[in-house]
């Protein structure tokens, strides 16, 4: 919502509305605690490469399904070949120069891509050998920093190990990097589409509403498994694959949009339902009679009143998206090993729950991580809802 103080009286109050809301939020202890938790989770996720954890993809098959252990607290298993990283730079410089000259000479794109892949492979090799998934430049820097600070020391598997002997704690941290972004981006995409669509549909009424809602009905029914398989097939078609590689569009990016595109539907329906009942409220009529445009009424007067519903849906959608990701990965879209996500961890965890043997650490610790985040989201959502609710405010 953009507020324009000079144009209407209610919006002038809007400035103080935000201040008022923040003040209220600060007083809400559960919400504030949640904010700290969420910020903590995000910071930990971001700095996961610096933490003295075992690499998430360091396979140690003799230790498969090892139980959680704290003795010794630290093990010296981490091994980053710093010399190799140092000695690469010369080779990489040459290769990059070659890429530039080839590009300038207008060489075949295939040829350039091949060289770029080679550069990437050489860069990643030391990290890969240490047990990391493909890392971006920033993460690589963080890993190096970690090596400089902690050396080969890393925390023992205090949360146990999985079927390949990988450290669960580390996988939870690295998984959070993927899952938080998936949850946030996909949910935001769905909120933006859903709220706009629902509000416009509900407010317009008549045939516009009818058409828009029937479209939603249609989209609800289209079998999304086929849709996803189709999207994957299109993405993997040779020409498009080449284009994607050239422009660096990976599957994860597409994945955000697919999830967002699937989850906005419910949001749109709910928002529309609310708008239907809101648009007959006196304050809407008042705003109209004051000459506020339709768009102004929808986005400045009605949408703020929807905030509570939207926030609740937001906090409901994020967990679903995080878990839905595991299913999309089953279909072949989304996270693939060696990357890891919370959805995949939960999925792996439940597979080892059988009557003969319960590897409880495989489900407990990922669940705790997901649960803590969702709890925090939940209470923050409640706090925000209360803080921003215009009616509660007018109540005093």
């Amino acid at each position: 919502m953009t507020q324009q103080p000079q144009s209407n009286p209610e919006a002038r109050a809007g400035v103080s509305l935000t201040q008022d809301a923040l003040r209220k939020l600060r007083r809400n202890r559960a919400a504030m605690a949640s904010i700290y938790v969420l910020v903590g989770v995000c910071v930990l996720a971001f700095f996961a490469p610096v933490l003295p954890l075992q690499p998430p993809d360091a396979i140690q098959t003799p230790l498969a399904f090892a139980e959680p252990t704290v003795s010794p607290l630290f093990v010296k298993t981490f091994d980053l070949d710093v010399e190799a990283i140092g000695s690469q730079s010369e080779e990489l410089r040459e290769l990059r120069a070659e890429v530039r000259s080839r590009r300038a000479a207008g060489a075949e794109i295939e040829e350039v891509l091949r060289l770029e892949r080679q550069i990437e492979d050489i860069t990643q090799r030391p990290y890969r050998n240490a047990g990391f998934p493909v890392l971006g430049p920033l993460s690589r820097g963080l890993v190096q920093a970690r090596h400089a600070v902690f050396g080969s020391r890393s925390l023992n598997s205090v949360c146990g190990r999985d079927k390949l002997g990988r450290d669960i704690l580390s996988r939870i941290f690295w998984g959070s990097r993927v899952s938080l972004i998936v949850g946030l981006v996909a949910t935001l995409v769905s909120v933006v589409i859903g709220v706009t669509y629902g509000a416009v549909s509900g407010y317009s009424g008549g045939w516009v509403d009818n058409l828009m809602m029937r479209t939603v009905d249609v989209l609800y029914s289209v079998p999304f498994i086929f849709l996803v398989i189709f999207v994957i097939a299109v993405l993997d078609a040779p020409e498009i694959k080449a284009w994607r590689e050239e422009h660096g569009v990976n599957r994860i990016l597409i994945f955000y949009f697919v999830v967002g595109a699937i989850y906005w539907l419910t949001m749109a329906r709910v928002v529309r339902g609310q708008v239907l009942s809101l648009k007959n409220e006196p304050f809407v009529e008042a705003a109209r009679s004051l000459g506020v445009s339709h768009a102004g009424v929808v986005f400045r007067h009605i949408v703020p009143n929807l905030l509570s519903v939207v926030i609740v849906y937001l906090t409901l959608t994020i967990p679903r998206v995080i878990l839905f990701e595991a299913f999309l990965s089953f279909l072949g879209l989304g996270v693939e090993p060696p990357d890891v996500s919370w959805g995949l961890l939960a999925n792996e965890g439940i597979k080892v729950i059988t009557p003969v043997k319960v590897y409880w650490w495989l489900i407990l610790f990922p669940s705790l991580a997901i649960g803590a985040t969702l709890f925090a989201l939940n209470f923050l959502g409640d706090g925000l809802r209360d803080a921003f609710d215009p009616r509660l405010r007018s109540q005093g």
Partner: protein, 306 residues
């Protein structure tokens, strides 16, 4: 009202047609076909099979055949199961619907009670614990809930059978697992809705008139507070009634849900299309019911406008 329903029925026909068109295109556009398998068939055999199922015709003709088929109640033959799709649906839908109905009753009663209680006792310990439980319900996917439910109620305390279909006892666990996340959602939504309503003018007026808090909540606030719940349940009902692949496979229940997933993996064109059409019809009907119930629950909504 009648005109409204009529208009929506016309809309339904249009929606069905559009859904059919898009799905038909998608189903035929994905790579692979129904006659591939771990053992490759010869070109002649595939040609013969395609001919048998009418898949050798031009796509438009196939689409037309399907549409006329649906109009006469012929859903085609499942390529993978060798039975009529109609039989699959007739056998599977009641099972899924029964399971779904149980799950919904469970979700609705539990969720609504918890939601309203938590809204009325806002800020207290009750509120906190109820909403925390709801958060857990949402956070845990139902395969996790099912996994633990089986360990506890089948093995640790042998109350229920591990799976299968045929007695009410076999229905309890799957219905609970299927309903749990919905109950959590309903609780959250009902609480929000209730809080909204409690701060509205007509409720405060009723309070001012001296009505008891209890009767205000139950008589004046609840119907309006249920709006978002109903709006959420509409699509959920269609989804729940047509089955859940996860819960059905964990508890070996012969519902429809599994077919939705399996027909896609098997490229069982007729099955997939038939299921989509049934699902669409159900979904649309449910949404229609939701819109009608808006009118019943909220006096401010005028159907002539929608």
């Amino acid at each position: 009202m009648i005109a409204f329903i009529f208009r929506r029925l016309v809309g339904m026909a249009v929606v069905l047609l559009v859904v059919f068109g898009i799905s038909f295109a998608l189903v035929n556009a994905v790579p692979g076909g129904p006659f591939q398998g771990e053992r490759a068939l010869s070109a002649e055999t595939i040609a013969a099979l395609e001919k048998q199922h009418g898949l050798d015709r031009p796509l438009l003709e196939q689409a037309w055949n399907r549409i006329t088929g649906y109009l006469t109640g012929d859903f085609g033959e499942s390529i993978k199961l060798g039975v009529d799709v109609k039989d699959v649906i007739l056998q599977g839908l009641p099972v899924s619907a029964a399971l779904g109905a149980m799950a919904l009753v469970f979700a609705f009663t539990l969720g609504l009670t918890a939601g309203i209680l938590s809204a009325v006792r806002r800020g207290t310990g009750t509120d906190f614990w109820l909403m925390s439980t709801a958060a857990v319900g949402i956070a845990l996917p139902n395969f996790v809930v099912a996994g633990f439910a089986i360990l506890i109620f089948v093995f640790a305390i042998p109350l229920f059978p591990a799976g299968g279909w045929g007695t009410l006892r076999q229905l309890v666990l799957p219905a609970m697992c299927l309903g749990a996340p919905y109950a959590a959602y309903v609780a959250r939504i009902a609480r929000t809705g209730m809080l909204d309503v409690l701060s509205q003018d007509h409720v405060r007026t009723a309070r001012a008139k001296g009505l008891s808090y209890r009767s205000v909540v139950l008589k004046h606030a609840m119907p309006t507070a249920m709006l978002p719940v109903v709006s959420f349940l509409g699509p959920a009902v269609a989804g729940v009634l047509t089955g859940s692949p996860v819960v059905e496979s964990i508890f070996a229940i012969p519902g429809l849900g599994w077919h939705f997933v399996q027909s896609a993996f098997n490229r069982d064109y007729f099955m997939a299309m038939g299921l989509v059409m049934v699902y669409t019809t159900l979904l649309y009907s449910m949404n229609l019911l939701v819109d009608l119930s808006y009118a019943v629950l909220d006096p401010r909504v005028d159907l002539r406008e929608t």
